[in-house]
Amino acid sequence: MNLASQALTALCWIVIVLAISPMVWLILQPYFKGWSRAERRATDLLRDTLTPEQFHQLTWRGYLEIPSPTAPQRIYRVPRTKGYVQVIENGRAIMRLCLQPVECLPDADVVVLHKLMIEANEETYLQKANKYFCVD
């Protein structure tokens, strides 16, 4: 009886571990990915390009806000990982932009790419991006 109870407990634990392991992997995957050489090099460039405040924002909030150099009321919200760039005007999201490099790049490099293009080449950036307007 006691042995059966122990076996049942062990079986329960095995089921629990198997059930949560995919979730644990999903949570830890970005950190493992961050250890790859390419990601490390891309993170170096990101650190060199962003101010400490911007780097902190990206790390903790998961996005980087870049003010438009031409429209003071406009902010571009660039995600840390793949996804749409949100365009926010006067505090409201007005559209989402999709723009990607033809070559596969580490996520940190993609953030730098968006930042450089918005700050120094905004017109071309907006021309090339696919736009999805937000409807209230």
Binding site: R37, A38, E39, R40, R41, A42, D44, L45, D48, T49, P69, C98, L99, Q100, P101, V102, E103, C104, L105, P106, D109, V112, L113, K115, L116, M117, E119, A120, N121, T124, K128, A129, N130
Partner: protein, 99 residues
């Protein structure tokens, strides 16, 4: 001649020398070429070769549709069409398309 280096923002503060850097984004992170501006000015063959190599890569990537940005500490980044050996740092980003 790609050189991996830990020089921050293209400037080797410890040595007191000014180092220019070309960084090319790729799937490997970024490839880098560095050159010592002062050695270039005095005609050091190695420094001149590094600049020529950077210039060649710059032209090659631009021909493939890459965009070049000049980055200087404390200044806004600037798009450039010509290679500039006096730049603190030049970053080449690959061609982009709407997704």
């Amino acid at each position: 001649m790609f050189i991996g280096t830990a020089i921050r923002n293209g400037v080797d503060y410890e040595g007191g020398t000014t180092v220019g850097m070309l960084r090319v984004m790729s799937r490997r992170g970024d490839d880098r070429v560095t050159w010592d501006e002062q050695k270039v000015l005095v005609g050091d063959p190695e420094a001149l070769a590094a600049v020529r190599e950077a210039e060649r890569i710059f032209a090659q990537e631009r021909a493939k549709g890459a965009t070049a940005f000049r980055i200087e500490t404390g200044k806004p980044s600037q798009r450039i069409d010509q290679f500039d050996a006096t730049a603190e740092q030049i970053v080449l980003v690959p061609r982009v398309v709407g997704g």
